[in-house]
Amino acid sequence: MPDHDPDHDHHERTVKPMVDEITDFEVLEIALRELCIEKGLFTAEQHRIMTEYAEQIGPTPAARLVARAWLDPEFRGLALRDPMAASKEVGVDWLDPTGFGTPSDFAAFKILEDTPTVHHVIVCALCSCYPRPILGNSPEWYRTPNYRRRIVRWPRPVLAEFGLELPEDVEVRVQDSNQKHRFMVMPLRPAGTEGWTEEQLAEIITRDSLIGVALPRPGVTTNVTTRTSPARRPVAE
């Protein structure tokens, strides 16, 4: 914000998380939200409900869905045939919280089933379309031009950067999620998980394996990339 304090370099202020000043982003978000409520564009109640919804989404139901599909062939059939009905079984209603879904993610969900000869990976080369209602918010790298430019054209080298090298006889199938469908990968159940419970299986079904940049492996419960750049005022846990 210009026109405020001549002794400060305001443009460094937004990049250096050093001082405890309000940022230009926070000022704009608050100003717009206040104006929207005062003009009656939406109600404070709608804003509160949407906030509560956004705070609780995450990858847990997606992992449960896949774990159950691995154990129950009937449920697997439902997940592939009617993925939104299968989502309900793990507690995700794609019409929440508005009665018609989240406006940015629509209500058209499709699960891409990996086979021994086909491996899927998802991207939105245009923005960052992602199945938020069942997988939570997308990771930062998924939104970057780096991932979006390269995965559609050089999928094998990019997957290798995630540590995933697929055999020559496995087809890599990139799904560019560029319209109203939201996609998620159903990876293959790995060897060494015989006799595991749904809870045990869900633990190794990482978010990255549902995007398709990793494969579930016994003993691996974290995403590939763990380097995280900190926020100045992070979302309250």
Binding site: I22, R33, K39, T102, P103, A108, N137, R149
Partner: protein, 279 residues
Amino acid sequence: MSTAADREKQLALVSRLKATYPEIPEWPTPTMMTSEHYWAYLKTNHDQGAQLSVAEPFLEKQEEQWELMTYVLCEALGWSGIWVSEERRRIGNVDVGLPIYLGLPYYARWLWAVGKALLEKNYITWAELTDRLTEVQERYADGLSGRRPEAQPKFEGDGSGVARNRNHIEAAGKGDPAMYSGQAGPPKFAVGDRVTVRQLPAMFYTRTPEYVRGARGVIAEVSYESPAPEDETWGREDVKPEWFYIVRFKQSELWDSYAGHRDDALQTEIPERWLHGTG
């Protein structure tokens, strides 16, 4: 106030930003411009797929509270029928121009889209926005001292006279795109049909990526009926829905230089207007 030195420093910063092709000067005459360069400038800048790029580390990032609140703000506006998300995507991902597209944080562009949409649709005035920005800035002039900034609306407005779209009413209980089911007539293509993506002179907005335009593929799925994003992005509600298809392309046919397996494939979703049959 600012000093003369402040003003010079900021102008020097702005002048360092480059947004033109190096082979064409800024502010070219019409004769300096080839058709290729013209269309390269006009390309919708959200269409990043397949552009050349060096490998960079893949990083996670903590979400800022304002980023979550920005997402909520955008969705609240969709819920209440002020816009559909395709309007947001055009305003925040395309209309911004390339320097802002690549230069600002991701959610900063969502926020930009809110401000721009509210002004363009005459919900707020420039002065209302500017006065409120100044007011919020001054509210926290002494720093936050560990507090989180809070929105403090002065009152809750009466929304009964506010102009709203039909989408948020007609989608209720069905969802978008199921709300358009049965409105497009019979689909022109079936699973397995060979199609070619048309090379339309797509100005201003499209979601059909440039990297498949002119390419041949196969219908992998008949998806759903919906108005095309090329119409939804302008808030049009008087257009006929059309069929969308998931189209599968062979990577080895998409790229001259593809080095992966010969069966590697790419799928993307395309509205019917962009496709024609290939015998």
